[in-house]
């Protein structure tokens, strides 16, 4: 899986450079998020601008990151949902669980 990881002040931005976030590649994202929180990062944004398709495993990797963050008083935010990805968050009611922003910058401002 193609992930671009950037640091900006205190925050880490994880940009998913894939068209699909599915059962084939989501385990890598899950492990990367787990690694970041274990290293002590407290502010993480996952940007999904390039993702056109997400399945329940892709959503699951984000939920796993969210639980990881919550357990460590850290926070995970999500940015840049394409319309079909957004409807999957809505269908599974996860838009009420996650903090979702339109752009990376908007997400960063709220930390």
């Amino acid at each position: 899986m193609n992930l671009k990881i950037e640091e900006s002040n205190q925050a880490v931005i994880v940009v998913v450079k894939e068209e699909r976030l599915d059962a084939h590649n989501s385990e890598t994202l899950k492990q990367e998020l787990s690694r970041l929180f274990a290293e002590g990062k407290t502010k993480v944004v996952v940007d999904l601008k390039d993702v056109r398709f997400i399945d329940s495993s892709g959503l699951g990797a984000l939920v796993s990151g969210f639980k990881n963050a919550s357990a460590r008083q850290s926070s995970l935010k999500i940015s840049s949902l394409q319309s079909q990805v957004k409807s999957m968050f809505e269908l599974t009611r996860l838009h009420r669980v996650f903090d979702i922003y339109t752009t990376i910058d908007e997400a960063l401002e709220t930390f």
């Binding site: 059962a23 599974t92 996860l94």
Partner: protein
């Protein structure tokens, strides 16, 4: 006159790297469905999602991630409905025993368990039944 009908049957190795191939093929089929009255782009995405969910369950739960197993998908398009079947070679499971609700409680937010909910939400019907040599998960979507 005979009804126009498209029948597609595909066998792939039991590996998640083939998910996107099946997803894309199913999207190509869906965007061509001239009899569908709704939004064809959304239908294409939904078909891609539910087939992905069904395939992942066959690959991981039924066929235990054995890369030498084979998964079969059958898609039938008639003038009034779309039928999708995913065959596995596992022992089967009781689909009615799987909760219909989302694993989103504050106390126990789970990172899995949303596949069947998604299939049931996006399709008109989802069934699972034994056939020779395994089981089939069958999803239907009517065009009206």
């Amino acid at each position: 006159m005979k009804q126009d009908k498209i029948e597609l049957h595909i066998k792939i190795p039991n590996q998640t790297k083939y998910l996107s191939l099946i997803g894309k093929i199913s999207e190509e089929l869906a965007v061509q469905l001239q009899n569908y009255s709704g939004d064809r782009e959304s239908l294409a995405n939904h078909v891609n999602v539910v087939l992905t969910e069904a395939l992942v369950n066959a690959i991981r739960h039924a066929n235990a991630d054995n890369p030498e197993e084979v998964v079969e998908v059958r898609i039938i398009v008639t003038e009034d409905e779309l039928v999708m079947q995913v065959f596995d070679h596992g022992k089967g499971f009781d689909m009615n025993g799987v909760s219909q609700s989302l694993p989103n409680n504050r106390e126990q937010l789970e990172d899995h368990g949303r596949g069947l909910f998604i299939m049931r939400s996006l399709m008109d019907s989802v069934d699972y039944y034994p056939v020779e040599g395994g089981n089939v998960l069958e999803m239907r979507k009517s065009f009206n």
